[in-house]
Amino acid sequence: MSDRASPNVTRTLGPVHYYRCMAGIVWREALRFVQQRGRFIAALVRPLVWLFIFAAGFRSVLGVSIIPPYSTYVLYEVYITPGLIGMIQLFNGMQSSLSMVYDREVGTMRSLLVSPFPRWFLLTSKLAGGVAVSILQVYVFLLIAWFWEVQPPIAGYFALLPALVLSGLMLGSLGLMLSSVIRQLENFAGVMNFVIFPMFFLSSALYPLWRMKEASPLLYQICQFNPFTYAVELIRFALYMKVDWFSLAVVAVCTLVFLSLAVFAYNPSKGLIARRGGPGGAS
């Protein structure tokens, strides 16, 4: 045998090994993102179109009264910026789910799941990678928005970070949960129609909820049951160095619920993959 021969020693995996594994997964997500320039540009153009065009057009139509966390009248561009940040994270979370479906079909998800680390840890690491990428997108967007008169206090940029981590985790885990249900790549169009658009429009991203209440009490009720509303409010308050405790609680609870369901779905003994026959339809 060569000097390379396996000693067949079984190692105990400690915190340092866990750290290396998570760092490796996050690094791969970042590498993939950086190398897919089209994805990076698309992720930026989408909210910028809303900011530059949509907000300009609706500036005069939609008046926004003084509501917390704002202490004065704000431009409509300023109002929708937290919603557009949420939109970046929403799309990113769903695109991560698309990449999961894609990964699963081409098999790279399988090579991830064959790692000796616990599955919940692997999935959480994958999620952390997606969140890191979304945060990068958000700060580049905010930098451009600054030149468009969206200028929150400097400290708000720092206060925003933990809110982004939490809202990113919630939307990412929602995507992760959906990825265990979606089998076909084409179904992402369905995700757009049935998840992204309703979540975005039935929230406080584009208009304050009191406006929605005036228009339709029913839609107002629906908006209040939309977790995305609370992600947007959490971001909005954080950007002005305030904490909306109720939104924080809702987002935290939703994150736990979505992530638990995703881990369950990927559980080798109980989950959906086990019942269905696995990625690509095992024969």
Binding site: G24, S115, G277
Partner: protein, 249 residues
């Protein structure tokens, strides 16, 4: 007694009412080549999914180097290297990035991962392509990279699910030769799923899987003799039925 690289005992698996595997028994000793012969739909991929713990076996036991995959997955999966049927390397990343990512998935440090990766790439003669994107490699080269990746963490057992599908004759032979040399050099146990009968040699172990059941097992020579056949192809056809002859060529 030597611990088997892989030991499967009494494993059955169903998807709803459909029985994918029925009471499968199989052992792979260290340094042994075991060919899992079966047509498409025989249950090979399901068996691989159970060994790699994509989902759990509900009956029987699967042990990798003596560690139960279901009860001790952290220990068992450390000794397992897998080459999946579909390509699972990331085309957008370089050869080295793919391998070091895999090293991280096994908890290796960056330096250790790079060193192990380069060492495996040298063995397959692709060290000079370490920084090239996967998409620039030929099908055979990408397959060899997948084998190198599966060995970065020094497993005791290598699973290969139809690894030569879609490759030309020369590339197929290269991969066969490489894997067989690994067995001799490293004492690696190999489970090689295929429906291509020319990939097995007389001294190999063979397990014939058909509709989820093991129809025959033993050395290739024994399986041929028991069937009174002249070749493994004839023995396989005799066991699984004449309608499958063309597929099993």
């Amino acid at each position: 007694m030597t611990t088997h690289a892989l030991s499967i005992t009494g494993v059955s698996h169903s998807f709803g009412a459909r029985k994918a595997l029925v009471d499968v028994n199989l052992d792979v000793a260290p340094g042994q080549f075991c060919a899992l012969l079966g047509l498409n739909g025989a249950g090979k991929t399901t068996l691989f999914s159970l060994i790699t713990r994509l989902y759990d076996n509900v009956s029987g036991t699967i042990e990798v180097l003596g560690h139960d995959v279901r009860r001790q997955p952290v220990k068992a999966l450390q000794h397992l290297g897998v080459v999946f049927q579909n390509r699972t390397v990331d085309s957008d990343l370089s050869v080295l990035q793919n391998l070091t990512y895999h090293a991280a998935l096994h908890g290796m440090s960056g330096a250790q991962g790079r060193e192990r990766s380069m060492s495996e790439l040298e063995r397959i003669g692709l060290a000079s392509r370490a920084h090239d994107k996967i998409r620039s490699l030929s099908g055979g080269q990408a397959r060899r990279v997948e084998i190198a990746r599966a060995l970065v963490h020094r497993p005791a057992l290598l699973l290969l699910d139809e690894p030569t599908i879609g490759l030309d004759v020369g590339s197929r032979q290269d991969i066969q030769d490489h894997v067989r040399s690994l067995m001799q050099e490293d004492g690696l146990g190999v489970l090689w799923a295929t429906h291509l009968m020319d990939e097995v040699q007389d001294a190999d172990q063979a397990v014939v899987l058909h509709h989820g059941k093991v129809l025959a097992s033993g050395t290739v020579r024994t399986v041929i003799e028991r069937q009174g056949a002249s070749s493994i192809k004839d023995a396989f056809t005799g066991l699984t039925g004449p309608t499958v002859t063309e597929d099993a060529a």
